[in-house]
Symmetry: C2
Subunit: 324 residues, 2 copies
């Protein structure tokens, strides 16, 4: 099955899922400048910020200012995370294209992360959906821990499909299956994506991977094989995981785009522009980023032959390095 | 196509491909102790060391002592890298099960890494093969830069197959296709593996990936899909790449085993034992290792619910973290 030129849709989430995990506050102007650069890169969607309590996530306390001051590029969907009715009202006033609601598929993670039972979350998000449906704004739901819960372990696919069904009944446009703490593995991803696509063909389905255990790109391959064409990713691989100190974050945008381009997909994203943007991150957040591609360069960023390369003169042979 | 319980063969290369890249000399006793632990982990093969010039690779200047003093476990193949006739003589005296010859598929990399033209390398390795064929010792050939050269760029599959054919004619038992600087991508890997398997069904074919651009596990999936059942990997992800300072190294053994086990393969390797061994590395080499799994733990190494998890009491909701 050829993948040549298959069109994909990439969503950049670094300024939300990335920055919310950073200790250092990124200046509002710097956020806006970064998002303006990202708007030129060819993403289908940018998750700009989160309209949550400034007490809960001080890193994103400037949500209104950022959302209102970015330069919006026609064709790019500007979405924001919204946890509740108050957040939705703020988001709608800021002129978002989409609200991204969130709850966890596992009870333990929902209670830990959102401090509510899942039923309480669902009721609250139902109120949000009812409000937003009165507008032109689209509704996406991100289902956290859809491929594993750090407290409960396996999350049955039936449970994921059940919650998808309940949100589909609320009239949402899309659902994102989130591997919140990097517990997904390829065969699981393939199976879940096939089931979800078959059960809800009317929903835009997005996959959201974290690279916590190194499998984000392998899981992406499995999702692609199952027909998925929408992926969240984070510039520089920002993201992190509160359960794994020092662990890497979301799947890295530039590494995802690099692989997809090599494999012949049309991601729509300009890899050189993304790499340029990623170089800004260490100064903004005050530390190195997980991105390997930023260190190694693209596959065909070639290196000169060193002046010491041998020409077959015997005495040079003794110094061979013999790596494989 | 079910992969359930398919038998795979994993080769641990950290004490060769990993240690040769380290600035700090790992004490001979520590090397022996680590290899003895690795011998208990279920690997099909362990690349113990390299019989090269101590001037070229001082980190492995104790090749004889290590090879002769390890406790060999029946069933495990103990192999060593051998660059030339002198190295082969030393290896045979040390009682190895296999010699692993090496040359690059690309002329520029061969001249840089081995200080010879490819034809000079091939002639020299022909002499080595002639010597080793007089013994019971097996011969493997590692073909470097088989999926890309950091100086030349793309390496045509036909070039790889051509060199495989010349070594097959020398009577070698196996060939390892090495993605020396992490330039391979999934669709390329699948195509090359299918061609190589079809052309040389009599050869044991091994894939050797580096994670330089984050694709090592994705490339492994592609190789598995193409029927490959042998993989090199390096404990902790040791390895590195001289062309990408700070970049990650070989595919990480524990991350590879973890993914393969989750996907239902029978790797033969005890993941808990491998993780235990990997915890020793930072002290041995004096720095952190690329392994993400060592930081994050296995997928089902679960975490307790924090005491602060909400039970739905409204005032707690304000502090929700709302990550996805």
């Amino acid at each position: 099955m050829s993948t040549a030129h298959k069109k994909l849709y990439l969503h950049e989430v670094a300024t939300r899922d990335g920055f919310q995990n950073e200790a250092r506050f990124v200046d509002t102007d710097a956020k806006i400048a970064l998002i303006n650069r990202l708007s030129q890169c060819g993403f289908a969607k940018i998750e700009v910020t989160s309209f949550t309590s400034p007490k809960a996530i001080p890193a994103l306390r400037d949500a209104e200012a950022v959302m209102q001051q970015i330069t919006r590029v026609p064709g790019v969907i500007y979405t924001v995370l919204v946890p509740n009715l108050r957040g939705a009202e703020r988001a709608l006033l800021s002129g978002v294209d989409e609200v991204n609601l969130v709850m966890s598929v596992s009870e333990s993670h929902n209670r830990t992360n959102l401090r509510m039972t899942r039923e309480q979350s669902f009721a609250q998000l139902g109120d949000v959906a009812a409000l937003v449906r009165q507008t032109e704004v689209a509704i996406n739901v991100s289902l956290s821990t859809a491929m594993g819960c750090p407290m409960e372990g396996d999350v049955p696919a039936a449970e994921v499909l059940g919650w998808m069904g309940r949100f589909a009944d609320l009239g949402v446009h899309g659902i994102t299956l989130c591997d919140t703490t990097g517990m997904a593995f390829p065969s699981q991803v393939g199976e879940l994506c096939r089931k979800a696509n078959a059960a809800f063909p009317q929903l835009e389905l997005t996959l959201h991977f974290h690279n916590t255990r190194g499998m984000a790109l392998a899981n992406t391959l499995a999702a692609l094989d199952a027909g998925i064409d929408r992926f969240d990713a984070s510039l520089g691989g920002l993201g992190g995981c509160p359960y794994a100190p020092g662990a890497t974050g979301n799947v890295c945008t530039e590494e995802l785009v690099h692989m997809l381009e090599l494999d012949g997909y049309d991601s729509g994203v300009d890899l050189a522009a993304v790499l340029d943007a990623a170089t800004l991150l260490p100064d903004l957040i005050g530390h190195d980023v997980p991105s390997q591609l930023l260190k190694a360069g693209r596959r065909l960023d070639l290196h000169p032959m060193p002046a010491t390369a041998g020409d077959g003169i015997p005495e040079q042979r003794a110094f061979a390095q013999q790596g494989a």
